[in-house]
Amino acid sequence: MNLREIQRLLDAEVLTGEEYLDREVKTCFACDLMSDVLSCVDDKTLLLTGLTNPQTIRTAEMIDIAAIVFVRNKNPDQKTVDLAKENELVILRTKHIMYTSSGILYENGLASANIVHK
């Protein structure tokens, strides 16, 4: 599924990375705990989160997350958006809560991200 499709499904606004909306994502991870996000092993993963600080972008950068969706209309500060831009990361924002966003994407065939098991 590409990011344009995700934007449509979640009725989301593009905060940065408009030029990368053709990027494909294969899986999704929904989480507010960055250490948990770091256990994700997939490439081309979409992250749904309510955390809008720069650490979210850093975490995404470390594991090559393709794009982030901020749920519940959360507004990141400019530093967060700038850092995403610098890292060629797409940020979308949706009014849906995490549960609804996850449900919509899951229903439309976006698979769960794989995580490292102990």
Binding site: S35, D36, L38, S39, N53, Q55, E61, M62, I63
Partner: protein
């Protein structure tokens, strides 16, 4: 290939810059053409180590040595040290303040995550003095199954 040595200072409580050192390390490894799965493990380990220094210590530094066979990361801080290292290694155990939890960290996953990403892991801590985490990730063959 000559060994490549990188060193970055990590500053206590600097949540704006936190992650910058790991970001730079990741970019260098990419330029060197290191295998993406190895880069990811190094990136996760250095990032967790960097956050640990920012959150828990008086500041410190991260040193990375890259040779054709392996990547060694040493994260050393200037204290205050960990009283019970065994407890700190336990998943879910954390002494992080609420403010850090709001950033999505402090869930007690840092050290276990670092260990998970490494082929060799050691930690030494002396209360009132320092904590040093040393890890090795092999670039070839010896990689542990992740």
């Amino acid at each position: 290939m000559k060994d490549i040595r990188l060193e970055y200072e990590v500053i206590k409580d600097d949540f704006i810059k936190a992650g910058e050192a790991s970001s730079k390390i990741k970019k260098v490894l990419k330029r060197l053409g290191v295998d993406p799965s190895v880069i990811r493990r190094v990136a996760i380990a250095t990032y967790e180590a960097e956050m640990n220094i920012v959150i828990h210590s008086e500041g410190g530094n991260i040193e990375v040595v890259v040779d054709p066979e392996r990547i060694q990361v040493i994260a050393k801080d200037q204290g205050p040290g960990i009283e019970d290292v065994h407890l700190a290694m336990r998943e879910g155990y954390s002494t992080a303040p609420h403010r850090v939890r709001e950033l999505g960290f402090g869930a007690g996953m840092g050290l276990p995550n670092i260990k998970r990403c490494s082929d060799e892991f050691s930690i030494e801590s002396i209360v009132g003095s320092f904590t040093e985490v040393k890890i090795i990730i092999y670039q070839i063959s010896k990689q542990s199954a992740q």
